[in-house]
């Protein structure tokens, strides 16, 4: 079914309900932590059976339906005019939607995702795109990116880029980005810019034959999609190198198992074979790293992770409990305690060895 028809189906359901004199409604999977399940085939987490229904018998529900219709109308208009819009632009455009106006951008972002979930059409296919978030890669990887003129340009992500690396575009699908070749043996995904720069300066990508990827915090979809393609098309293992705190654990979980908000597209985004080589609670103790005390919010987050189905492994349970017990967290740059080369000469080689990577 064409994407436009999928959108029309929603409007038709509503229209027909009204014509019959029924109360129109929309139903979609519940997008909460309680409703994600492990798909044993792909080993990623997806939405389960629980559905929620928004119907027009309450003001909230009716407004949701109206906003959905406005969004559909807007997207169809973009199709006709071959335009795309950023999520933020869409939020501002809703200013003119009267009763269907969004109150916050969170609300409009969520509705865009809901529409993906309902229609099985990806956000990019809905012509909605996120802001550039500037995630980048450096390493011996050759790609071809289609530019604005429609021509594919060949780029080597080590030789043809500056120290900032190659900037990952918002869409990394094959029609935009072709993966040509690489000599790398694995991908190292790094949480913070400071550590990414350190590894670049130390030439880690060359000495260890790898691709360095800057996640830039919680990674954007395109970043995760690129990791998935590198893993799938070149068979490169993905190692995730983060800070040692509950938020970093979540970054790893979304790379490896899929994020709760995007569980409907986990198949496209998650790399279940990813390995965590970030700072662990045990590292903080073993390397006696400079640390900070866990804040109340950190403790809350750790306790939530203990209930998160994605963290129900022996490794994670032990690490989370150790962190709760020690009450300490540390940044990846705390490794500089032992000098600027410690991370590349000692820490990462030891970690890689321990997971059998090198």
């Amino acid at each position: 079914m064409a994407r436009s028809d999928r959108l029309n189906t929603i409007a038709e359901d509503i229209y027909n309900s009204l014509a019959r004199g029924d109360v129109p409604s929309i139903s979609l999977p519940s997008r909460t932590r309680e409703n994600i399940v492990l798909d044993p085939l792909s080993m990623v987490w997806k939405y389960g059976e629980a559905k929620i229904s928004r119907n027009a018998s309450t003001l909230d529900g009716a407004e949701y339906l109206l906003k959905t219709l406005y969004l559909i109308d807007f997207i169809k208009e973009m199709y006709e005019n071959s335009k795309t819009s950023t999520l933020r632009e869409m939020y501002y455009i809703s200013e003119g939607w009267g009763h269907a106006k969004f109150h916050t951008q969170d609300e409009s972002d969520l509705l865009a995702e809901d529409l993906e979930v309902i229609t099985h059409v990806s956000r990019e296919e809905l012509n909605l795109r996120p802001e550039e978030n500037g995630a980048s890669i450096i390493g011996d990887l050759t790609i071809e990116e289609r530019n604005r003129k429609g021509e594919f340009k060949r780029i080597n992500c080590r030789d043809d880029v500056g120290d900032g690396g190659y900037n990952i575009p918002y869409s990394v699908e094959a029609d935009k980005l072709r993966l040509v070749e690489t000599n790398a043996k694995f991908v190292l995904a790094i949480e913070t810019g400071g550590m990414f720069d350190r590894l670049v300066e130390n030439g880690f990508d060359e000495s260890f034959k790898c691709i360095l990827l800057h996640l830039k915090g919680q990674p954007a979809r395109s970043t995760r999609r690129l990791l998935k393609r590198l893993n799938g098309e070149f068979g490169l293992p993905v190692y995730v190198f983060t800070d040692g705190d509950p938020w970093s654990f979540r970054i790893f979980a979304s790379v490896a198992y899929g994020a709760i908000k995007t569980a409907h597209i986990s198949d496209y985004l998650a790399v279940p074979s990813s390995e965590f080589i970030g700072i662990t609670a045990s590292d903080i103790l073993n390397y006696s790293l400079p640390s900070d005390k866990l804040s109340d919010k950190d403790i809350q987050a750790l306790n939530a992770e203990l209930k998160d189905p994605r963290f129900q492994t022996e490794f994670w349970k032990t690490e989370i409990e150790t962190m709760l017990m020690s009450g300490k967290k540390a940044e990846q740059q705390a490794l500089a305690k032992y000098g600027l080369d410690f991370v590349t000469d000692t820490y990462l080689p030891e970690k890689l060895k321990s997971i059998g990577g090198q």
Partner: protein, 617 residues
């Protein structure tokens, strides 16, 4: 050194030192509070004088900076003025004016206040106070320089100058004093604002040291009910009090003295008291022993005596509280003013006490902060020692949760967008300390305050429930009148089809008759437009009774006739009300109320409703 000289030196030191050491007792404990006390004492005196002489008060307060930490405070009123011969006593003698044999509710009571203010100015700056005063009928205004002779505890007049002034009567006091001027919760400005809230008959102008003038205008031309001076009641009398009255009537029989000096003392009850005290009724007062006086005082409690008169009290009353709150807090645009509560008097140790409560809710007040408690004793705002006060205790012990406020574990000061005014008045209010900044936490008074809070809180709850219901009616209206038709139009547009009729769906989601009003302010009051729309599948005829929240409505009842499905009938009326108009209550008769949103079932007592909390004399 002679003994006499030593004595007089000791005396001089002791009076100065008494004041200095006991500044906190009188309230002059910090530079900031001292300025506040001077203004407070002068304004309290002005208001008392105006009230006693039946004058609508006009007061002007000016605080000027003279020097780094020296200020000039002047308070001018249009009161009855002060007799030339009394000036030295009123402003220069501590404890002047304290009378036991006359009791009535007034702001100042101990005869210390203004003298202490003059004294504080004198010892901190060495300057005399200036008093300008004119009594009605006199052509001249007299200007005095007044000081205090610390040796003899008496006022000294340094100069007296007659002059001509426009004002027909009144007094202006000017005091130089060291201090600190600040604005905030405990400040002159807040004191004046709170004073204005309970004295809507007052016109007040205040100019602060930066030269900014704030005015609280008079909003009521009616004088408050005057407190009548009465004799003290036997309950609560102490030995010293009885000795004091005996000293004036040495040659009378004790029976006569009791009858002359106390209220509610008939010949019969005096006889019972003396019999129980085992004192001869005809015994001359001067020949009573201390033992006998003590036995009489103890015997008072053993005899049943009529409760004290209550015309010695001057509660604010409902209208004063309503107008006052509005005058001062209108700028916060509260969404609700409760009907104020004036309780009947209770008696505490022979003295009558009345508790009054008013509250405003909503508007620009912050819902995340503790409620603001505005405390008054005998119409005087209490800005200090909130924690020690009976009012605070009553508010904290009251469970506000059931009345829609946030209060963790049902104790403590609740959170919510609310200002709560509590006034306790009486001839002899027990204070927690000499500075009279907090009412003592006496169980009888705390309980009585809680009773008054309960009545106010109930009206708040009624308001909140109504608001919630109105909110639901508005939600339903938006749903059926706006959102559903738009859903139909938009889904049709996406598909390139004609919009469908939504009336069937609408009657499924809202099978009701919706009553909604819009209110607009006009010159005379408020014009209200009310629409009645039928979203059910039946045709209805019923009566709608109109009860405005305040003021009078031009229409009592509207007859809804043959209201077809999907039809609307609109009617208009006006309400003249001078308080902010919040809502009309609509009651339906002749239709099952479950089919109506925005109006309620007609209460059985609707036609005889005239509940009043007015004070009974």
């Amino acid at each position: 050194m002679t003994g006499e000289k030593l004595f007089s030196q000791n005396r001089e030191i002791s009076i100065s030192e008494f004041f200095n050491k006991n500044r906190h007792i009188l309230g002059f404990e910090s530079p900031q509070k001292s300025l506040f006390m001077i203004v407070k004492e002068a304004v309290d005196n002005s208001l008392d004088a105006c009230e006693e002489y039946g004058i609508l008060p006009e007061i002007e307060v000016i605080v000027q900076k003279a020097d780094q930490d020296e200020f000039i405070i002047s308070v001018e009123d249009n009161g009855p003025g002060i007799n030339r011969k009394e000036v030295a006593n009123v402003f220069g003698k501590l404890l002047y004016g304290s009378r036991f044999h006359q009791v009535r509710q007034s702001r100042g009571q101990q005869g210390i206040g203004i003298t202490a203010a003059v004294f504080y100015g004198q010892i901190t700056t060495g300057k005399h106070a200036v008093v300008e005063t004119r009594i009605p009928g006199d052509d001249l205004t007299y200007r005095f320089e007044v000081g205090i002779d610390v040796k003899t505890n008496s006022g000294i007049i340094f100069s007296e100058t007659p002059g001509i002034k426009e004002k027909p009567h009144g007094t202006k006091v000017t005091i130089h004093a060291r201090g600190k001027y600040q604005e905030g919760k405990q400040s002159i400005l807040e004191y004046l604002r709170e004073t204005a809230a309970v004295n809507p008959d007052m016109d007040l102008k205040f100019t602060n040291p930066e030269g900014k003038t704030i005015r609280f205008q008079r909003t009521i031309d009616e004088l408050p009910k005057k407190a009548v001076a009465v004799k003290p009641h036997p309950y609560g009398t102490e030995i010293g009090d009885l000795q004091f009255v005996i000293a004036d009537q040495r040659n009378e029989s004790i029976t006569q003295v009791l009858q002359n000096s106390f209220s509610r003392m008939s010949r019969k009850s005096a006889g019972e008291v003396l019999a129980n005290a085992n004192v001869e009724p005809e015994k001359k007062a001067e020949s009573l022993s201390l033992q006998e006086i003590r036995r009489i005082v103890e015997a008072f409690a053993t005899v049943k005596i009529m409760p004290p008169q209550t015309d010695c009290l001057s509660p604010l009353g409902i209208e004063y509280i309503r107008r006052g709150l509005r005058n001062v807090y209108e700028e916060l645009k509260p969404s609700f003013y409760s009907k104020p509560v004036t309780r009947n008097p209770i008696v505490y140790k022979g003295n009558p006490i009345i508790v009054e409560v008013g509250l405003v809710y909503g508007g620009d007040l912050s819902p995340e902060e503790p409620i603001r408690i505005v405390r008054y004793a005998n119409k005087v705002p209490l800005l200090y020692q909130q924690g020690a006060c009976a009012i605070t205790k009553a508010v904290s012990e009251f469970d506000w949760r059931q009345f829609g406020l946030e209060q963790r574990s049902g104790a403590g000061i609740p959170f919510g967008p609310m200002i709560l005014l509590v006034h306790v008045c009486g001839t002899k209010i027990p204070y927690s300390s000499e500075s009279k900044e907090a009412i003592a936490q006496v169980p009888e008074i705390v309980d009585e305050i809680k009773q008054a809070l309960r009545i106010s809180a109930r009206s708040l709850r009624t308001f909140m429930r109504k608001r919630e219901r109105r909110g639901k009616a508005n939600e339903k209206y938006r749903l059926v009148a706006q959102i559903l038709p738009e859903i139909s139009a938009k889904s049709a547009k996406v598909l390139g089809l004609e919009p469908v009729d939504t009336s069937k769906t609408i009657s499924r989601v809202a099978n009701v008759v919706l009553v909604r009003e819009t209110v607009e302010k006009d010159v005379e009051g408020f014009s209200v437009k009310c629409s009645v729309t039928n979203y059910t599948k039946e045709t209805w005829s019923f009566k709608l009774h109109i009860a405005p929240a305040s003021g009078k409505s031009s229409l009592d009842t509207f007859e809804v006739k043959d209201l077809q499905p999907a039809a609307t009938q609109i009617f208009s009326f006006t309400v003249n009300s001078d308080t902010p108009y919040s809502e009309t209550e609509y009651y339906v008769e002749g239709i099952d109320p479950v089919y109506v949103i925005g109006a309620e079932a007609l209460p059985p007592d609707f036609h005889m409703r005239e509940i009043s909390y007015e004070v009974e004399d």
